[in-house]
Amino acid sequence: MAEAILQFEDVSLRFEDNLVLDRVNLTVNRGDTFILLGAAGSGKTVLLKLAMSLIQPSSGRIRLLGHDITDLKESELFEIRSEVGILFQEGGLFDSLTIEENVGYPLRNQKRLRAPEEEILTRVTESLEFVELGHTLDKFPSELSGGMRRRVGIARANVTNPKLSLYDSPTAGLDPITAHTIMSLIVKQRDLRKTTTVLATHRYQDGAMAANYQWDEATHDVVRAVPHGQYASLNTSFVVMKEGKIAFLGEQQQLEASRDPYVSQFVLHQPPPRIGPGGDRGHLPA
């Protein structure tokens, strides 16, 4: 029996008169990759925030890492949250702190993770090198490009070695090359550290890449897990959100076969396959 890392049971969320999530049910098991697709405003961000209890549901229950977090007090949540990494859509980097202080923030502030200062520095450097930004320690977020800030966000999310990593629209607003880099870092984190991953995005390519590519330490890049045209079984599930409801939940193959007009738009809105050699979905021609 697979271990459930994150479970939503009949979760609804309402802001005043606006029903933002409508009876959402889902389960993320250890080792899964969960791709949340959906149009703007469909509820991806609120779903991720609910998962960490940064907002409370109006009804339903949420279980995270074996704890029912629905009614926990803020002080009781900190310890559970320290096992989860999150990359925020708007970045969430502290602009008054340096990159080093930003990435070290969870290590210095979470009781469970407190460590001696040298160890923190080692881990921060390691985490920044993981995203290939080892040289930016003393810079401030405003001095970095958008893509670099995303990478710092990934480093900060994963510096604690979380059991679950949540990424909110990590590739939004980035050029295709940078988006590919970001996605390969997410795959790298997932495969090297065995992190359960939930990824909200409106780009189907991101999902297809997470579903079919693996990190290859030898080439230091992502490679397809199975030949072109086949679906890898990397425990990847796709969820398509529509106005707060789950419009689809299943594997990539089922998603691509879906006849639902809303759902299939996410799949078809991609460059046609095989633009050039290696030009498969999710992978950019070199």
Partner: protein, 252 residues
């Protein structure tokens, strides 16, 4: 009608919740001393020049306005009394509070507001810190310490401004002015003059934090919260001023 009242009542309730949680956290560890000092610097030291300037002008203008009336009643020797009573009880605290509201409630609201819309506040909670403890309490403590000090400075500079007019235009001697200014002050006046800035400070800091932390709607929202913070905290300053004055008046 009830619907129309729902949202302000709800807001006020949310404000009280924030106020309660902040007060409870003031003495609770961890206390972020660095943040408190930084806020004291930006709220206190940053406001000093403008507070001194306004203090001086209010003393000067007040004394000028009074001079004619005092002459009519042949009471020019009591210039010091009139100036010191009105500055210490009323003008110093209120003018300083309005300045702090304009300068710091807006600063706090826009700073926390931009942190809110860039999800830095969510990030704090996700990464193990309580934003009330880390952001609200230092601002609250710093304002509550600095504003009485700023008011004392404004009062003093205001009395100096009064002195200039009393000596040059009304024809008091400096001695006459000071002794009448100091002698009239009772403990009640000093208490009133220091209670006000302390209470104003709490309200201004909390209102700034409140509107900052509930900002939504991107950068536009930040502008909106900033404006609201200034307007609402200024209005509260007047309302509270009336209440405190009434309490002290009934005490004597």
């Amino acid at each position: 009608m009830l619907d129309y009242l729902k949202s302000p009542v709800q807001s006020f309730q949310d404000f009280l919740i924030l106020a309660g949680r902040s007060m409870r956290n003031v003495a609770k560890p961890p206390i972020y001393w660095n943040d408190i000092l930084m806020q004291m610097d930006s709220i206190g030291v940053g406001s000093l020049p403008i507070v001194a300037l306004i203090g001086a002008f209010s003393g000067i203008v007040m004394t000028l306005q009074m001079s004619r009336a005092l002459e009519t009643y042949g009471a020019t020797s009591q210039t010091g009394q009139v100036v010191s009573i009105s500055i210490i009880r009323e003008l110093g605290p209120v003018l300083t509070a309005l300045l702090v509201a304009g300068r710091n409630a807006s600063g706090i609201a826009s700073e926390l507001g931009s942190m809110k819309v860039t999800e830095q506040i969510d990030a704090m909670r996700a990464l193990g810190t309580d934003p009330i403890q880390k952001l609200v309490v230092p601002r609250l403590v710093a304002t509550a310490i600095m504003q009485p000090l700023l008011t004392a400075i404004a009062d003093f500079v205001g009395l100096l401004g009064g002195l200039i007019i009393a000596v040059t235009i009304i024809g008091n001697t400096a001695n006459q002015y000071w002794s009448s200014a100091i002698d009239i002050l009772a403990l009640n006046d000093i208490a009133q003059g220091m209670t006000k800035p302390f209470v104003f400070a709490i309200v201004i800091a909390l209102v700034g934090c409140f509107y900052g932390m509930r900002t939504t709607g991107g950068t536009q929202g930040v502008g909106l919260s900033t404006t609201k913070a200034v307007v609402v905290s200024s209005v509260w300053v007047f309302v509270i001023d009336v209440l405190i004055t009434q309490i002290f008046v009934s005490l004597t």
